[in-house]
């Protein structure tokens, strides 16, 4: 259906309705709008109805603001070792319907009405910026954080600087061209932009804040990662095209990064990590230490020695003192020294989501440890290996050894817990496997 097939009267009316929408009554109004229009469409009265005279029920009495379901527990309470299996169990389709029944033209119809609002908003933001006042209006506060130009220090507080950069008439004032979206949809499928973004498909800051809350809630309800990831990508895109760079942005990227870690999606994780780095560099506060620790672990995983050397050299004393960073540095040290004992111990004690990253290289380090042991011991028992390499069950260590073709025993005919591995043939085999399997690290999406 192209928008030409709609009567102009209807378009105006829809725009008016959407203009008077509030956060609280949005789902209702949208549902009723859809219903009314589809009924009219079905009865072929689209062109004959006097739309200006139609009144939506949901817009008539102003409902009292609803606060209950909007505030939910933040993502941070998610325990890192939450069972991954439990996730797919529940899949509530509650909010999916809104996204599924996409009423594309709705947004297009609201264009005109929204434009006025947008210009109004822009003016408002401009005046706020000029006065430099500290505003409590969350919806506009991001404007104050737009690309701070005088970042002189990394103290973490400079980003709120109220100083207006000196106006140079020769420099393009990009702020004037910043888009502010007008879409009121909470959810939007991600689509890679191939042309200039259209404001009517972009969600403005207040809507995005709601989007994040909704996504967090849905994630807790075990919504599939594929869908949530897609939504996060569109959320990130809307932030990018509107050049919103503030604490909210950092939060979005942090949450997405954690989800990606949990679901082993290293491509998205690396993208988030890279963006977070630039956001932190701008001085925007966030969980800098947590993500610094992740970055060290990622560099260990990628065995990117050059970067690791440089990165460790640039850590601030405050970062170094942090527990998570300390852990990551301990991991680095244990790894460098071949201290597999300590390394596996640290694997078990990883703070935050560190274990998810360590998952990626722990087997490599175990193989290296086993290579060391194969030369230092004549025989090795299952139980000793199990505790040393932090395997939870005998089954796991058996699987690990089988995966790496370690299978010659001194006493093959006794029960598992008494079996002794013969170390003599191990080293050449392990060296070969190490070369084949672990010498080169493939990191998807690494920057």
């Amino acid at each position: 259906m192209s928008s030409e097939s709609w009567p102009p009267q209807l378009k105006e009316w829809v725009a008016k309705c959407l203009g008077s929408i509030t956060d609280a009554n949005r789902p209702e109004v949208q549902a009723e709008l859809k219903q009314v229009i589809s009924e009219a469409f079905a009865s072929n009265t689209l062109w004959t109805t006097d739309w200006a005279g139609v009144q939506l029920k949901s817009l008539m009495p102003k409902p009292p603001p609803v606060f209950n379901s909007l505030k939910r527990k933040s993502m941070e309470s998610t325990t890192p070792h939450q069972s991954k299996k439990a996730k797919k169990a529940l899949q509530k389709s509650a909010a999916a319907s809104a996204a599924a029944m996409d009423f594309d033209d709705q947004a297009a119809l609201s264009r005109r009405a929204e434009r006025f609002q947008r210009e109004h908003e822009l003016e408002k933001m401009k005046s706020l910026r000029v006065t430099g006042g500290t505003n409590n209006n969350k919806a506009n506060s991001h404007q104050a954080h737009f690309l701070p130009r005088s970042i002189s220090s990394r103290t973490g507080s400079s980003y709120t600087s109220n100083e207006e950069p000196e106006g140079d008439p020769n420099v393009i004032d990009w702020d004037r061209y910043t888009i502010v979206g007008t879409s009121q949809e909470i959810f939007k499928d991600y689509l890679r932009l191939t042309s200039e973004p259209k404001p009517e498909t972009i969600r403005p800051y207040p809507v995005l804040q709601k989007t994040l809350e909704e996504l967090k809630a849905l994630w807790k309800q075990k919504k599939s990662y594929a869908w949530v990831c897609n939504q996060f990508k569109s959320l990130r895109q809307d932030l990018t095209v509107q050049r919103i760079k503030n604490e909210f942005t950092v939060q979005v990227y942090e949450i997405h990064a954690r989800m990606a870690l949990e679901c082993n999606d290293m491509v998205e994780y690396n993208q988030c990590q890279a963006t977070l780095r630039t956001l932190y560099d701008l001085g925007i506060p966030g969980k800098v230490e947590e993500f610094t620790a992740y970055r060290i672990l990622m560099l260990l995983h990628g065995r990117n020695r050059t970067e690791l050397n440089l990165f460790v050299g640039q850590l601030t004393p405050r970062q170094r003192a942090d527990k998570a960073v300390q852990h990551a540095l301990d991991v680095q040290r244990a790894q460098a020294m071949g201290n597999y004992q300590r390394l596996c111990d640290l694997y078990m004690k990883a703070p935050n989501m560190g274990a998810y990253i360590m998952d990626h290289f722990i087997d490599r380090e175990r193989v290296k440890g086993l290579m060391v042991m194969s030369r230092a011991y004549k025989k090795l028992s299952f139980t000793f290996l199990q505790t040393t390499f932090a395997f939870e069950t005998t089954e796991e260590i058996k699987q690990f050894l089988a995966d790496h073709q370690v299978n010659s025993y001194i006493n093959p005919n006794v029960p598992d817990n008494e079996k002794m591995l013969d170390t003599k043939p191990m080293l050449p085999e392990l060296t070969k496997i190490y070369e084949e399997k672990y010498r080169k690290v493939m990191i998807k999406g690494a920057i």
Binding site: R305, T306, N309, L310, M337, N339, R375, K378
Partner: protein, 409 residues
């Protein structure tokens, strides 16, 4: 007698007709005495005010001469960023001339690229001092890389007059810029471009100074990638070919060569260290600790020099050398236990405890295993008996006698 602009132009002209590269370099250097004269001649020159000199020489030399005056004037007034920008202009104008000429122009090219780099350094330093962001250094690296391309693509000059004789020097300049701005990962690109061209004369036929700089950076890059064998090879060559009076450069090379040699088990002599007091101060505590097996002072030194070692990217390497100190400690323990061939793990644990190192017995066992694996000790561990059985002959071989020491790191 002060030189005026017209004299300057005629001297440029002479250098060009004589194909006198060094003279050209001298004339284009902002620090040369005539630079000051020209600043005095034009009180406040701008591109517009100097435009009447256009066409006073064959293009692009009229513009180059004008840019030169502007650079000198900015430098004299301490406007570093502007100076850098004009010098960039000068370089791009020069490159236009450069691509149509032969190797005799290289001394001038080297000189102006060096000036460009120095001005970029000043500009960034100045900007940083005033809390501004500035990436002149990266700009300059880009410009220098462009010049590299122009050297590489010389297909017409006869071999002995080729612009290709500039490649290694220029790569050295580019790498230096990348190291300076800590964008070392960018180095790969230019080195790949260098490798892709097989028709460059061998490195050994280039001037020695070019070789030394190039080898130093290759050694550094290998070092950072922990390709220690390659690093040692390149740095050793750089060190032995380094000019005897380039003390600073020797020190730079040794800062990495000494730790590499220590990893292999070669401790530097007193004589050498005396010549480099800065390095002596840094490395002496580690060397001393290794000699006597004093793990605690080794760790204290690691802590004390942490910032400096991190800054030099040496921390990880010095940390690795700690194992050699550990070996010394265990060897002393072994001598003290009358060179017994059977030593319980608890003895190793006690040795660490006495040195003030707090680790568990499990970890002690792991440390011993690592020493055996890396050939610092000969023998095997019996986990069930919690016993280390040492080889009857030479259980602690000399560190230098270990086969392929870098391979097992």
């Amino acid at each position: 007698m002060p030189m005026d602009f017209l004299t300057y132009i005629s001297q440029l002209n002479d250098a060009l007709t004589d194909e006198d590269g060094p003279k050209l370099a001298y004339l284009l250097r902002p620090t040369s005495p005539h630079g000051r004269d020209l600043v005095k001649e034009f009180r406040n020159p701008t591109k517009a005010s100097l435009s009447r000199y256009e066409n006073s020489m064959v293009s692009p030399w009229d513009d180059i001469a004008i840019e030169y005056v502007l650079v000198c004037s900015h430098v004299a007034r301490k406007r570093y960023i502007e100076a850098f920008k004009e010098e960039s202009q000068l370089v791009s104008l020069f490159l236009r001339f450069f691509t149509e000429n032969r190797g005799w122009t290289l001394p001038a090219l080297f000189s102006i690229l060096r000036d460009l780099r120095d001005l970029a350094m000043d500009a960034d330093f100045h900007a940083k001092y005033h809390g501004q962001k500035s990436d002149c250094m990266e700009d300059s690296a880009r410009t220098i890389a462009k010049a590299f391309g122009h050297c590489m693509t010389d297909r017409t000059s006869p071999p002995d007059q080729s612009r290709k004789w500039g490649v290694y020097y220029i790569v050295g300049l580019v790498l230096k810029s990348y190291f300076r701005v800590k964008r070392i990962s960018l180095s790969k690109n230019i080195l790949r471009a260098l490798e892709a061209n097989t028709d460059i004369p061998p490195l050994s036929s280039f001037p020695r100074s070019h070789q030394v700089t190039f080898r130093y950076y290759i050694g550094m890059l290998s070092f950072l990638n922990e390709d220690f064998a390659k690093s040692e090879e390149e740095l050793t060559l750089a060190f032995y070919n380094c000019h005897v009076e380039a003390h600073g450069n020797q020190e730079r090379i040794l800062a990495y060569l000494i730790p590499l040699r220590i990893l292999k088990g070669h401790l530097p002599t007193q004589e050498l260290m005396k010549r480099f007091p800065v390095l002596d101060e840094l490395f002496a505590p580690f060397i001393q600790a290794i000699k006597v097996g004093d793990l605690k002072s080794y760790d204290r030194a690691l802590e004390k020099w942490e910032a400096r070692l991190l800054d030099l990217n040496l921390w990880l390497t010095i940390e690795k050398a700690r194992e050699i100190c550990l070996r010394s400690l265990f060897r002393r323990m072994w001598v003290a236990s009358e060179k017994s061939t059977r030593i319980p793990i608890s003895m190793f644990h006690a040795a660490l405890a006495v040195s003030g190192i707090d680790v568990s017995e499990e970890e002690t066992e792991c440390l011993v295993a690592n020493l055996i694996y890396r050939n610092f000790m000969k023998g095997y561990i019996s986990h069930e008996m919690q016993m280390v059985v040492l080889a009857a002959v030479n259980p602690f071989p000399r560190v230098v006698d270990r086969p392929s020491p870098y391979a097992l790191i």
